[in-house]
């Protein structure tokens, strides 16, 4: 079974703190994603990485950065957390080719971040 593991399920941080959200996948997927999910807004893509050290901005990259030093690990960084970044963060991974042969996007369980 594919596993996408997010390091923390629930976090509470203070405004201005630097926050790291870690994600690890065990399927040798090329692609990794960070999404943010807020009530009524669906899934919004923050950043995407298609290879080690490669990244692309998604729809809402402001206030976030990412790091992909190893293929299996993709980190989301909030340089200076703010209250409007309180949300659920979802990591996902996939092969580059999504044509059917079992390829799809696999999600982690989510990290609930509260910034106070």
């Amino acid at each position: 079974d594919v596993k996408v593991t997010q390091s923390s399920r629930y976090l509470v941080k203070r405004t201005g703190e630097k926050v790291f959200l870690e994600c690890v996948q065990d399927m040798d997927h090329e692609n990794m994603f960070w999404y943010r999910q807020d009530p009524g807004l669906g899934l919004r893509l923050i950043y995407f990485s298609y290879d080690v050290k490669m990244k692309e901005k998604g729809d809402i990259p402001e206030g976030y950065s990412v790091s992909r030093e190893k293929k299996e690990r993709f980190s989301l960084i909030l340089e200076s957390a703010s209250t409007n970044q309180t949300s659920m963060y979802l990591c996902a991974s996939s092969f580059q080719d999504l044509r059917p042969s079992g390829n799809t996007i696999y999600f982690g369980e989510g990290s609930w971040l509260t910034v106070v």
Partner: protein
């Protein structure tokens, strides 16, 4: 990447068949259509994927007309546990510049 449009929400009763339609007017020739299901406080999970005509698995069926500008997820005889948000996603590969962006999804509420 093809943009998708789905109804925001739908209500149904246990035992009924539910059909959720997704519009994707600018689908590309190589794009596949994939549906995901998300329960509260969990990440989305894969339900079904197709390219054209009809695909069926143990969970659902996916109907895709010849022009492929829309697709319909069909859930037979829903139960309370099918209450979830359903996302339609259209795309094929994730090379640089092709990112996977989900739409707002359809919130299905199954009532007893």
């Amino acid at each position: 990447l093809a943009k998708t449009t789905q109804p925001i929400s739908m209500d149904s009763y246990e035992g009924q068949e539910v059909n959720i339609t997704c519009s994707h007017n600018n689908i590309a020739t190589n794009d596949y259509i994939t549906w995901y299901q998300q329960f509260p406080s969990q990440g989305p999970r894969f339900i079904i994927q197709g390219y054209k005509t009809k695909v069926t698995n143990e969970v659902a069926s996916l109907f895709i007309p010849a022009d492929r500008k829309s697709s319909t997820l069909s859930l037979p005889r829903v139960s309370l546990s099918d209450t979830a948000v359903y996302y339609c996603l259209v795309g094929v590969d994730n090379n640089a510049g092709n990112m996977l962006t989900f739409g707002g999804g359809t919130r299905l509420m199954v009532k007893p």
